[in-house]
């Protein structure tokens, strides 16, 4: 029970009408602070579900989940959004930027919900965008950027509140090899700086960057740790 994330016997079922579809069938995972974990598995294996539960976007049907020694099922909804805001950063395969906002505003979004004033938000968001190499594109809309650039905006948004954990769901899935590589390098750098990174992928090349790979098939963890 020493990890930043502890999951015990987690089950998740989805109800589709009268049929119950199991997604997770009793998963045990412990992740230490500073790890770079790749969660691998074929589509439909339950890896995205696991990711959503770790990210406090979804709730397990059964099992225990402790995040930073707090039992997530006992945390109130209002505080869960604060955890999503401050402790976790999300990066998605489809970037999930708001198309009608420029990238500066997109990156400011978590700061806004954290309650920072306009000045502080702009300066922080600017700094982080500069870090990911987009300091000269602040006023651009996401549609005016390439896929790789968009994913860098998404990363900037994920790290702008300096969260301990970064969750990435197939972050290179929509990118060509070159820009995918760039993105992975950014994740490695972030990991070096101390962020715990959990990345869902089905690409073994991507998984090589990780310090640990967790394989999941049919909602169950396969052979444990491969380094």
């Amino acid at each position: 029970m020493s990890g930043i994330i502890n999951i015990e016997n987690m089950k998740k079922e989805y109800r589709m009408g009268k049929i119950t579809v199991p997604a997770l069938n009793g998963v045990d995972i412990s992740i230490e602070e500073g790890e770079f974990v790749a969660i691998m598995g074929p589509s439909g294996s339950g890896k995205s579900t696991l990711m959503h539960i770790i990210g406090c976007l979804d709730k397990p049907t059964n099992g225990n989940y402790t995040l930073n020694s707090e039992i997530v099922s006992e945390i109130k909804k209002g505080k869960l959004s604060m955890i999503r805001n401050k402790q976790i950063g999300f990066v998605f395969q489809t970037f999930n930027l708001l198309p009608h906002l420029n990238i500066l505003k997109n990156v400011e979004l978590p700061l806004m919900y954290a309650g920072y004033n306009k000045k502080k938000r702009t300066s922080t968001a600017k700094k982080v965008l500069e870090e990911v190499g987009l300091g000269d594109r602040l006023k651009h809309k996401p549609s005016e950027l390439s896929g790789g650039q968009r994913q860098r905006v998404a990363i900037a948004r994920a790290i702008v509140n300096n969260p301990t954990i970064i969750l990435a769901d197939e972050p290179t899935g929509n990118l060509d090899t070159a820009s995918g590589g760039d993105i992975l390098s950014i994740f490695s750098d972030l990991n070096d700086k101390g962020h715990t990174i959990i990345m869902v992928t089905h690409d073994p090349a991507v998984a090589k960057r990780a310090t640990r790979v967790i394989n999941i098939v049919d909602g169950l963890i396969q052979d444990g740790d491969i380094t």
């Binding site: 976007l57 979804d58 909804k77 209002g78 999300f90 708001l98 009608h100 979004l109 978590p110 309650g115």
Partner: protein
């Protein structure tokens, strides 16, 4: 603290702006609704001003009128008129009345040389002119001396004067009224007030110009031969003391008539309010139109907001993911709806204000704009936003983040 109101308004504005056509269609109902609210309120204000003007023209707020109560069917043994003696008693009981004028009137023929004119002649006291705040333009009005002596004199309204004398001088001439010869001692001022909303006669006071006045005593002693008086008017010292005087007078008269409501005692204010009542149908129709269009507007807006939320499901998912609380989502959409309707309201107010002249000409009534009605219209349009936005905002705030993120 999360997303601030200012932030919300900015987000709302950019949303409004990025969907111009849709926003304009959305707020059409609100625009029309607030527009008609402005028109109605201006109409009501105009009518009230008109009524007030009428009241002031007819002797002001301190005037009290006693007349027969036509709605009451009196028993045979009760008199529905006052005698001269009774009137003297009444007058002595209300020393606080500043002016006091009993009157008798008869519908008679006025003739001069070969000209005839049928009109109402009134037997009055000198106070009549004071109570009505109506003076002569030529000659003089009836004096106390005329009353004492029951002088054979008459004062003419401008219409009678014109009918009998044309443009010739009338003061000093003798005319025949019914069968008595009376000397014209004065001509009353011409009275005029615009009769709004009427077809044909545009002078609301033309009936006053058709009156003539003779000393009440002359009429009693030499004309009608009786001292039955069913109407009298009086004036309190000021408008504030009028209601109390009215109350007192009412009780005195009830006592004189065994508690039976044979007479009506009305203050000018009450009369004016009755007059305003008659124009209420106008305003009611307009109110109904406003409420219906606002209601339709609210339904349209609720509908469009629901569609908008569906369209923006993914955005809501993203916002929840980066730390928005459900309350933030709720406030965001509610504020946006209120913003949309308020913008519509502002347009409606501008449109309504610019339409006042047109409506005024069309209805031939005075419409008066005011600051208060602008606030009312703004408040109503914001209120419509609140009502129509609350359910869509609740739906938005209840979305499941994972499903919202998957939404295509």
């Amino acid at each position: 603290m999360a997303i601030s109101l200012k932030e919300n308004i900015i987000v709302g504005f950019s949303d409004f702006w990025s969907r111009k056509i849709r926003s304009i269609i959305t707020v059409m109902g609100i625009v029309l609704g607030t527009m008609s609210i402005i028109v109605v309120l201006a109409l009501v204000k105009g009518i009230n001003a008109q009524t007030m003007k009428w009241m002031m023209e007819r002797g002001g707020l301190s005037k009290i009128t006693v007349s027969r109560n036509w709605r009451y069917e009196k028993p045979d043994h009760v008199k529905n008129y006052f005698t001269w003696k009774e009137l003297k008693l009444i007058h002595s009981l209300i020393p606080e009345a500043k002016y006091f004028n009993p009157q008798q009137r008869h519908w008679v023929r006025h003739s001069y040389e070969d000209k005839n004119y049928q009109a109402s002649v009134r037997g009055v006291l000198p106070d009549y002119s004071k109570i009505e705040e109506w003076d002569v333009q030529k000659g003089r009005f009836i004096s106390s001396f005329d009353i004492e002596q029951s002088n054979d004199v008459i004062v003419l309204g401008t219409t009678i004067k014109k009918e009998l004398f044309g443009n010739k001088n009338a003061v000093g001439e003798v005319i025949t009224v019914h069968d008595r010869r009376l000397k014209v001692i004065g001509i009353m001022d011409f009275r005029y007030m615009k009769n709004s909303g009427a077809i044909g006669n545009d002078n609301a006071f033309s009936y006053l110009n058709r009156r003539s006045f003779t000393p009440l005593t002359t009429m009693i002693h030499k004309g009608s031969g009786n001292d039955n008086i069913s109407t009298f008017t009086l004036k309190a010292h000021d408008a504030e003391s009028a209601p109390a005087l009215r109350e007192k007078l009412s009780n005195i008269i009830l006592n004189l008539r065994r508690g039976l409501p044979v007479f009506e005692v009305e203050s000018a204010k009450e009369e004016a309010e009755e007059a305003a009542q008659n124009k209420k149908m106008f305003t009611t129709i307009f109110y109904i139109i406003s409420v219906i269009s606002l209601f339709v507007g609210a339904i349209v807006i609720a509908n469009i907001m629901l569609a908008t939320i569906q369209e923006r499901t993914r955005e809501i998912g993203i916002r929840l993911t980066v730390g928005a609380r459900r309350r933030d989502i709720f406030v965001q959409f509610l504020v946006q709806t209120i913003l949309v309707t308020t913008i519509g309201g502002i347009f409606g107010i501008i449109l309504g204000l610019s339409l006042l002249d047109v409506v005024s000409n069309f209805l031939d009534m005075e419409l008066i704009a005011g600051v208060a009605m602008i606030f009312v219209a703004l408040l109503v349009s914001a209120g419509v936003g609140l009502i129509s936005g609350i359910i869509p905002a609740i739906i938005a705030s209840k979305l499941d983040p994972v499903e919202a993120l998957r939404y295509e």
